[in-house]
Amino acid sequence: MTHAGYLVAGWGISLVVLGGYALGLVRRGRRLAPRVPVDRRRWIDSPGSDRG
C-alpha cells in the first residue's frame, strides 16, 4: 500500500478527534445531569421508566 503513513495519520486523527469529542460530550452530560430535574430533560419521555 502506498502512502500508508498519510492514511494512518489522516484517518487516525479524524477518528481519535471525533471519538474524543463524543466522549467529552457524554462526560459533560453526565456531569450536568444531576443538576437538572428529570422532567427538564426533554429527551426522556417518562422519567425513571426508560431503559437502554
Partner: protein, 272 residues
C-alpha cells in the same frame, strides 16, 4: 417516580444509543470498504503506458469528502437556527445553533487536516494557497472559532443568543464573498486542479463514497443530538440554580416556601 434517578446516563436515550451503535457499525464497515474492498486509484497513460493517479491516497477521500459536505450541512443548520433565534427568540433554536456550530467547527478542523494530509502526496504540498475551496474553508473555520469564542463569554443569556446569531449569520453570508474573492485571487497562480472530477469513478468507489456520507452522517447526527442535550442541560441547570437563588432571596430561605418554589418547576421530585 422510583426515587431519584441514579443512572449515570446524562444525555443518552434509547434513540441516541441506537444511533450511536449504528454510527459505530457503519464507520467500521466504511473502513473495510475504504481499505480492503476498493482498489487504489491507478491509471495507465494511453500512449506511454506509464502508471499514474492518486494510488492509495485516494482512500483518504472516503473520509475527507463526507466530512466536508457534513461540515457545510452543520453550518447551514447553524445559520437556519440562528435565524430562528432572531425570529422566535426561544432557547431551543439557540441551543441548536450552538450545537451545530460546535459540531461544524470540529468537522471543519478535520476537513482542513485531512485535506492537508491528502494534499501532501497528491498535490505535493501540505498547503495550496491557490485552491479556492481550501482557502474558503480556512476562513470559515476561523469565523466559527470566533463564534465559539464569543459563546464562551458570559453575559445576559438572551443578549448572548442574539449576538451569537448575528455572528453566525454574518459568517454564512460572508461565504459567497470569500469564495468570489478567492476565486479571482487564485486565478493569477493558474493552478486549479479538479482532482475529484478526473478520478475514475467505479461502482464500488462511488458506493464507498456514498456510504461514507451515511457513516459520518450518523456520527455527525449523534454528535449534534448529544451536543444539543448538553447545551439544554447547561441552560436548564443555570435556570434551576437561578430559580433556587431567587426563591432563597425572596422567601428568606423559609424551607417550605423554598420547596414550593422549586416544586413548581419540579413537582415529580419526592419532597421528603
Amino acid at each position: 417516580m422510583a426515587g431519584p434517578d441514579k443512572r449515570r446516563d446524562g444525555t443518552g436515550s434509547r434513540g441516541s444509543r441506537l444511533l450511536g451503535a449504528g454510527a459505530l457499525v457503519s464507520v467500521a464497515a466504511l473502513i473495510v470498504l475504504a481499505f480492503v474492498a476498493t482498489d487504489a486509484d491507478v491509471r495507465t497513460h494511453p500512449t506511454t503506458g506509464e502508471e499514474f493517479g492518486q494510488f492509495d491516497a485516494v482512500r483518504m477521500l472516503y473520509l475527507h469528502v463526507p466530512l466536508a459536505v457534513l461540515m457545510y450541512v452543520a453550518f447551514v443548520v447553524c445559520a437556519v437556527a440562528s435565524a430562528g433565534v432572531l425570529l422566535r427568540r426561544t432557547a431551543w433554536w439557540d441551543v441548536t445553533a450552538y450545537a451545530a456550530a460546535e459540531v461544524g467547527t470540529v468537522l471543519c478542523g478535520l476537513v482542513l487536516v485531512t485535506g492537508s494530509i491528502w494534499g501532501r502526496p497528491v498535490w505535493n504540498t501540505w498547503w495550496e494557497w491557490g485552491d479556492v475551496r481550501l482557502m474558503t474553508t480556512l476562513v470559515l473555520f476561523l469565523l466559527f472559532v470566533g463564534y465559539l469564542a464569543l459563546r464562551r463569554t458570559t453575559t445576559d443569556p438572551r443578549l448572548q443568543a442574539r449576538r451569537a446569531a448575528v455572528v453566525a449569520l454574518v459568517a454564512v453570508l460572508d461565504i459567497p464573498l470569500i469564495n468570489r474573492s478567492v476565486v479571482w485571487w487564485e486565478n493569477r497562480t493558474l493552478h486549479q486542479q479538479s482532482t475529484l472530477a478526473e478520478l475514475k469513478i467505479e461502482d464500488l468507489t462511488l458506493f464507498t463514497l456514498m456510504f461514507g456520507f451515511l457513516a459520518f452522517g450518523l456520527v455527525a447526527w449523534w454528535l449534534l443530538v448529544h451536543r444539543f442535550r448538553v447545551g439544554w442541560l447547561e441552560q436548564a441547570a443555570t435556570d434551576y440554580d437561578v430559580a433556587i437563588a431567587l426563591a432563597e432571596r425572596r422567601f428568606e430561605t423559609s424551607a417550605t416556601d423554598l420547596d414550593a418554589a422549586i416544586g413548581r418547576r419540579d413537582n415529580r421530585e419526592d419532597p421528603v
